[in-house]
């Protein structure tokens, strides 16, 4: 059993990585009051930008991830101009961004269909990767997966321990008050939205240049939406987001290990599990209205103009 379980657990961490990046980015944006439903589109644009950069530069993920971040941030900029500067409906703008991202990534990506990249070898942490069970699960991952965990630590620290975190949260809770004491609400929301876009872009570029280094149209396959759901599930708390991402990472890769684990279910049912699980966790978390109200950034989704 154990020899089957180790690849499952190790795979879980890798499968969770795009969700961690995209989810953390969306979490920060939502804490400032901006709900961007365009995560799926930003991930796709990041994925295709990352793939193109990796393919043309020959440096793989090293060029792919920064390019993905830039692509995702540019996509977020369109959303920000419409929904922050022009106060357009955030839900509709996010949806538009997703539809646009699907179209744009397919348009650019058609040059790369069935083109594959070298990917990224796992990076052993000296000493630690020798530990039985824990070693191969935790310390035999690709560099980006470690980077995802570092990003979690960074976001956690900023939100919980720093003045910047306080300002971000103040803008989300009470934009009028934050404005009155002199904080540039719109500029802060721009920054958080672009950060969200860059993180979603990195998540997308991880998928296209490391996780499955091969261009497939629409390859993000709903992970952007799952990341949005994870933020709700996490009640806007980064630690819960990390746990949620691992949970979903595990559900996602179950289909590839079902045979080894002795699960005899139709492959389509296993493939549908992450989406079904998203519905289930949304129900579980949303039914407790009090918990949701307590953590929901008070100005979430509401247009604000000075």
């Amino acid at each position: 059993m154990l020899e089957h379980l180790i690849p499952v657990l190790a795979g879980t961490l890798a499968a969770a990585t795009p969700l961690i990046f995209a989810g953390l980015g969306e979490l920060v944006a939502e804490r400032t009051g901006v709900i961007n439903l365009g995560v799926e589109g930003m991930m796709l644009i990041g994925a295709v930008a990352g793939f193109a950069a990796a393919a043309h530069s020959g440096s793989g993920a090293l060029a792919g991830l920064p390019a993905g971040a830039i692509g995702g941030a540019m996509a977020a900029l369109i959303f920000a101009v419409l929904s922050l500067s022009m106060a357009a409906n955030q839900a509709a703008c996010g949806l538009a961004l997703t539809i646009f991202g699907i179209g744009l990534s397919a348009f650019i990506g058609q040059h790369y269909v069935s083109y594959s990249l070298p990917g990224l070898p796992p990076l052993d942490i000296p000493g630690l990767s020798e530990i039985p069970v824990l070693g191969p699960v935790l310390f035999h991952q690709d560099a980006v997966t470690y980077l995802g965990l570092l990003s979690f630590a960074g976001v956690w620290w900023v939100l919980k321990r720093t003045r910047l975190g306080l300002i971000l949260k103040a803008v989300g809770e009470a934009p009028d008050a934050a404005h009155a004491i002199g904080y540039p609400v719109i500029a802060i929301r721009y920054a958080a939205t672009l950060f969200g876009g860059a993180m979603a872009g990195i998540g997308g570029a991880y998928l296209s240049t490391v996780y499955t280094p091969l261009w497939v149209q629409n390859m993000v396959a709903g992970r952007g939406w799952i990341a949005v759901a994870l933020v709700v599930f996490a009640a806007w708390n980064p630690t819960r987001l990390l746990l949620g991402a691992w949970l979903f990472g595990g559900v996602t890769i179950l289909q590839f290990h079902a045979q080894g684990l002795g699960i005899a279910l139709p492959v389509q049912l296993l493939a549908a599990l992450p989406y079904l699980a998203t519905v289930v966790v949304l129900v579980l978390i949303s039914r407790d209205k009090r918990l949701l109200q307590l953590n929901l950034p008070a100005s979430l989704g509401k247009p604000w103009m000075p």
């Binding site: 106060a87 357009a88 839900a91 538009a96 539809i99 949005v228 759901a229 389509q268 103009m305």
Partner: protein, 356 residues
């Protein structure tokens, strides 16, 4: 320094102008795109918008594509007016197609007039039930319908994949993921020899009439809108916010399900993995572009259908990727949302310099 200021009252003329501005801007950016790809914009737009309509078959194809788009968008608009965002119509379409297709497969070889009507009813029920799940989750457990409808759309694609790879796979289909080809009793008869337009278009036409009547004439539609915009006010006036959710999602599921049957009993003629080229998502744009108004949606649906046809024509004539249709769809929605801002806001006049 904010550039915009709120208008005292929303501008009605801007509401009607916004879609035209959005179309104009999309064409302008489209021209730049064509130029950058080394194509003449005049030639490209000729291929996109004129060539598809230069033959009888072109008009038939336009109707074949406009039908499902209009049908789905009419249902979605009811919910969107009440701020109920069903964005998983694609899934409800698939479930309608599965239910209707299931009837066709079960009664394969039965030559009776009732097979097709039964398929249509099954499709409507299939779509409505798939829409009822997020309604239940929203009213009972407070789960946001935006996310649940979309997640269920993914689940629906896997359900379709399971059925055409498993129980309903054509035994003589060389292992392709597809069902048997439906017999004539399970198909809408084309109106004209060699063209695909058929009576399923009447369903879209009827739905458009019904929704026009419903939204402009009935008190229930007004209650729905209030229930979505101001749940507290609606409760005070004795309208139920829950009923708004249920009606919006079940109705839009029903129309999407009907569109699904229209595809499998029409142009597709069987169940396979390509029963919809994203109609459920494109219909969201159609609903907004048509100003959530029954007549506007008919016009917007025709335009979106033309965009699909143009994309196909451009693929053949200009070797442009089919994905260009999706790119145009996204741009159109962006420009529309941008232009819509000016319904409620206007540019602030530059402050006059103050002289001492």
């Amino acid at each position: 320094m904010p550039l915009l200021e709120a208008r005292p009252t929303p501008s009605t003329s801007m509401r009607l102008l916004a879609p035209l501005i959005a179309i104009g801007l999309t064409l302008a950016v489209g021209s730049l795109l064509f130029l950058s790809l080394g194509k003449s914009p005049v030639e490209a737009f000729g291929v996109f918008f004129i060539q598809p309509l230069s033959s009888g078959n072109g008009w038939s194809e336009l109707m074949v594509k406009a039908g499902p788009l209009i049908l789905i968008a009419q249902g979605l608009a009811i919910g969107f007016r009440a701020r109920i965002y069903n964005i998983g119509a694609e899934g409800q379409l698939i479930m309608g197609a599965l239910a209707g297709g299931g009837v066709a497969i079960a009664f394969d070889g039965v030559d009776a007039w009732w097979v097709l009507p039964l398929m249509v009813i099954a499709g409507a029920i299939g779509g409505a039930l798939w829409g009822a799940i997020p309604a239940l989750l929203r009213t009972r457990f407070n789960a946001q319908e935006t996310l649940t409808t979309l997640m269920l759309a993914y689940v629906a694609t896997f359900a379709l994949s399971y059925m055409v790879n498993g129980p309903w796979r054509d035994p003589e289909g060389m292992n392709f993921p597809q069902s048997i080809l439906f017999g004539d009793p399970a198909l809408f008869t084309p109106w004209f020899e060699g063209m695909r337009v058929n009576a399923s278009l009447l369903i879209a036409a009827f739905a458009s009439l019904a929704f026009w009547f419903f939204t402009s004439r009935s008190f229930l539609a007004y209650q729905l809108t209030v229930g979505g915009l101001a749940p507290a006010a609606a409760r005070y006036a004795g309208f139920s916010a829950d009923r708004t959710v249920w009606l919006s999602l079940v109705l839009s599921g029903l129309t999407a399900g009907l569109a699904g049957v229209g595809e499998v009993a029409g142009p597709v003629g069987q169940l396979n993995l390509n029963i919809s080229p994203g109609y459920g998502f494109a219909a969201i744009i159609v609903a907004y572009l048509g100003r959530l108004n029954a007549i506007g949606i008919v016009l917007a649906g025709l335009l979106m259908a033309l965009l699909y046809l143009g994309g196909e024509a451009a693929q053949v004539a200009l070797q442009l990727p089919a994905a260009i249709t999706g790119l145009f769809q996204g741009m159109l929605l962006f420009f529309l949302l941008g232009a819509d801002v000016f319904v409620d806001y206007r540019l602030k006049p530059r402050p006059k310099p103050a002289y001492a």
